[in-house]
């Protein structure tokens, strides 16, 4: 069952190579929809208190002790749902526009979905690392081949223009940064398995390694090898150097899923691998991680607040959001971690429509810079309302699910120390600034010349409205996720809580 979820997208991507060009996009859409259907099927049969479910475990490389082992629990189920949901608008949005070399484009997009799902479902440490590394390959091609160079000359007078960016250097930066982390993680993963086996039978099963435990001294360095990979992927504050350039160069539909889902794999990795496997080290470095998380929140919010490129506003707001999520996880408190899981889903659901809206704004104004924009709401009330909902969710307005998520996280942080929570809450305030500024400068004010206030087309509405609908529904019943993930989150942080006492 889980295998079919993982491989369906790739299979449809490959079918797309064989069918005539004009059908390729629709084959891809079909693949994504079927994957969503399968994941809904899993969700329907999922028991929140049942621990690891739908387990698949076959030997893959017996010579190396690597198994093809999959499973789903209360944390991964929601991230799998997020993934399968998020890919549909990205693919549909592309399908409604013409794409160069469509067969390859959709193959890469769907291969990205396959590898992301694989990372969320893998229960073998090496399989997880493999999928984690694999994720970056299709996105390297997506960003590199379908991205575009951004010249500094695009910028209008008065706006602090970003420097010119070439696709090649941006994608290279991205992949080098990401792989630096994940290669160290590969070493760390193998070391964790070998050390925990201690001469016994070598296995990479996450559960077995957790059960066997690692000596404290080894935990300390293995922790950082894993943390490097996850922090780069998110990206967290000092390791975000690849983010601005690649975000500016990337094609927007691919960027939407990249920002929505791939960043969560890092946070998920902390919850699934780092905390249970390296509880002593996690406890030891709790303060460091919290400092990094808070720094990400403040830095990301401040940057989002000053940037004028819409992609960068969203990109840095992601840095801040991921900071919140990390803080929630490293609070070692069930409320905080549950909030983090909820927030992962929330952020993913909000970011996808946000980036697609940026693409639509660019179609109307020919620019992605905030400076010369405005007035788009004039003749497009529906478009404006959709954007308003997305902006409000981003700033975590009370009654939105994001509000609940951040509230839970702050609550968890409060248990660690009031100071942490107070500093982090500055981020919440800043979020209101940048989200409102983004909305105001695009939708209100007079319409500048050359811009076109055009109502959202029916087909685009078909893509966006369901996404926004899910955001609204989730605002009413966030407890679905909170309760669903409770048992899994508790078992993830149980060991580290034990140690922290």
């Amino acid at each position: 069952m889980l295998s079919s979820i993982i491989w369906t997208p790739l299979v449809f991507g490959l079918i797309g190579l064989l069918v005539p060009r004009r059908f390729t996009a629709w084959v891809a859409v079909l693949g994504a929809v079927i994957t969503l259907g399968l994941s809904i099927g899993v969700l329907a049969g999922f028991d929140p208190d049942g621990g690891m479910q739908y387990v698949t475990d076959v030997s893959w490389i017996p010579g190396l002790g690597v198994d093809y082992s999959l499973g789903i629990d209360g944390v991964s189920i929601f991230l799998v749902m997020l993934t399968t949901v998020a890919w549909i608008p990205a693919i549909c949005f592309s399908a409604m526009r013409s794409t160069e070399r469509p067969a390859l484009y959709y193959l890469m997009l769907l291969a990205g979905e396959t590898s992301t799902l694989g990372a969320f479902l893998a229960q073998d440490l090496l399989l997880f690392v493999l999928f984690f590394d694999l994720m970056i390959v299709p996105f390297y091609f997506l960003f590199g081949v379908w991205g575009r160079d951004r010249g500094g000359e695009d910028d209008h007078a008065g706006s602090p223009g970003e420097g010119a960016v070439s696709v090649q250097s941006a994608t290279l930066k991205m992949i080098v940064f990401t792989l630096i982390g994940s290669l160290l993680m590969l070493v760390g993963a193998i070391a964790a398995a070998v050390i925990s086996a201690d001469g016994g039978e070598l296995t990479f099963s996450i559960q077995t390694i957790v059960a066997r435990g690692l000596p404290e001294g080894s935990q300390n360095w293995i922790f950082w090898f894993f943390a490097a990979a996850f922090l780069v992927k998110m990206p967290a504050f000092p390791l975000h150097g690849w983010m601005p350039d690649s975000y500016r160069a990337a094609p927007l539909p691919a960027l939407a899923v990249f920002s929505a889902v791939l960043s969560k794999v890092g946070a998920y990795g902390f919850l699934r691998v780092v905390l249970p496997m390296m509880p002593d080290a996690s406890d030891l470095f709790q303060t460091t991680m919290l400092v990094l998380a808070i720094a990400s929140i403040i830095y990301g919010s401040a940057m989002a607040f000053t940037k004028t490129d819409l992609r960068l506003v969203l990109g840095f707001s992601s840095v801040a959001q991921l900071g919140f999520i990390t803080a929630g996880i490293f609070a070692f408190d069930s409320t905080g971690a549950e909030g983090a899981v909820l927030q992962m889903v929330n952020h993913g659901l909000v970011v996808v429509p946000a980036f697609l809206i940026v693409a639509m704004i660019a179609e109307r104004t020919g620019s992605e810079e905030l400076g010369p924009m405005g007035g788009l709401a004039k003749k497009a009330p529906v478009f404006a309302v959709i954007f308003l909902i997305v902006s409000m969710a981003t700033l975590a307005i009370p009654a939105s699910a994001n509000f609940i998520g951040e509230f839970y996280i702050l609550n968890g942080l409060f248990q660690v120390g009031a100071a942490w929570a107070i500093v982090a809450s500055v981020g919440v305030a800043l979020a209101a600034f940048y989200a409102l500024r983004m909305y105001q400068l695009t939708m209100h004010n007079p319409l500048p010349e050359g811009s076109d206030s055009r109502e959202i087309s029916l087909r685009d509405a078909l893509v966006l409205v369901p996404m926004v609908g899910i955001v609204v529904v989730l605002a009413f019943c966030p407890q679905l996720i909170i309760h669903g993930s409770e048992q899994a989150v508790d078992s993830s942080i149980a060991i580290v809580r034990e140690v922290a006492k």
Partner: protein
Amino acid sequence: MTFDAPTIDYAGLSPIIALTAGLVVIVLAAVFDRVKRFGPGLALLTYAVTAGCLIWQWNADLDLVSGALRIDGLAVTLSLLAVIAAAVSVLLAIGDPSETQAGRSDWLALLTGSLLGMVILAQATSMLTFFVGLELLSIPLYALCGTNLRRRESLESGLKYLIVGSVGSATLLYGLAMIYGASGATGFQAIADGLQAGDGMLSDSLTLVGVGLVAVGLAFKVSIAPFHQWTPDVYQGAPTPVTAFMAVATKAAAFAVFIRFFLVALGPLADQWDVMLAALAALSIVVGNVGALAQTSLKRMLGYSGIAQAGYMLAGIVTATQAGVDALVFYLSAYVAMNVAAFAVVVIRERQTGFSDDISTLRGLGREKPLLAWPLTIAMLALAGLPPTAGFIGKLYLIEALIDDDWTWLAVMIAIGTMISLGYYLRVVAALWMSPAGEAEGDAAIDTASLPPQIAGAQADPFEDPGADRRWYLVAPALIAMAAALFFGVIPQPLVDFAQHAGDALSVWVP
């Protein structure tokens, strides 16, 4: 007086016999104009028969020729890799100017001779066969490098390789002599026994200097830094089919004897040489990867990358365990696939552009000729160690073997080296897919002024074959190698079994 002739195990010797017979036939065929054009076919037939004999002897595990040779899993697997590499070179050389200028059969005879040296080397268990095999491997290669008679670079590379290679051989010979002096034996097993029996011989400076010199000599052959300087120049100058052969087959054979000599003959000294080899491996990883960053010539880049890859593989010997040997053989097999895919595309591209291997000639290939772009892309991703390719599993295997034997720092070095390597491997991918097809500035046609003085009666012929990407014997190796690199990345177990067959052969000597 009775005289007992040594028993000759014809079955065990069959790969060597087949190859020798084939060599004789190829040389004789050169005399007859009518059969001359069947040269490549004859060579391929010879290799097929040899491969058949090797597979026939798959489970063999016995000493031959009074213990001078030994056919076992290690010999069989690594000889097979060399034979495959040679077959690919024969295909890639069809119609290549180097082959036609050198006289087709002569070229093929040289290649087959070198391959014979490799097969002997992979089986060598005595210092004599070791050295004879190594020279038989090297001397035809020196000549092969210079077979592109009208290109100065080719001649230069042949000469350079000859000089550096001779220095390497001489160093090795000195080392062997010293070890002989210390142990009083030539057979690998006898050396180990002699060293252990001799009083204090394990830490005697005569032994240690000998070990050092042997390591240096072998490092020259497999291009381990700091004995690598010849590699980029020779790789670039030599005709590309020869470069492909050198890059892949030489490594396979030289690593076979590297493993056997160090783990069997010098096994008792493992604690002395492991740190030295680890340092060489680490240095190689750094030098190779950093050196490759600045290259614009694809062949030079692959040369430097070969240095780094040799460093990764050497790490497998450092562990002195069976798992290390398994990992090395696995990596080497994957390396064959990735390099064949890369070099085949380079050959095709060179023929299309009048012998330019500049990375800029690849621009826009992804859009125009996906059939060429994909093998090169997969080769680069595999060399860079990305999933889902055999390169990823190979790195995984090596790192696992290293950590298992407490060489974590070397495992981290491999990870760091891999990070650096992304910088140049992905530059190729970016050129293929992410650059508009611009006709390369300063088009690559041969600069007539730089040609060497004309050989009497010969015309300088700027060779160009725009249809090279439709020739099956060039495209098929690229596609098959690409498929192999992907297949063994997704289903690695068959290749793991292959590699473990090599490691099992050493189970008597190493843990």
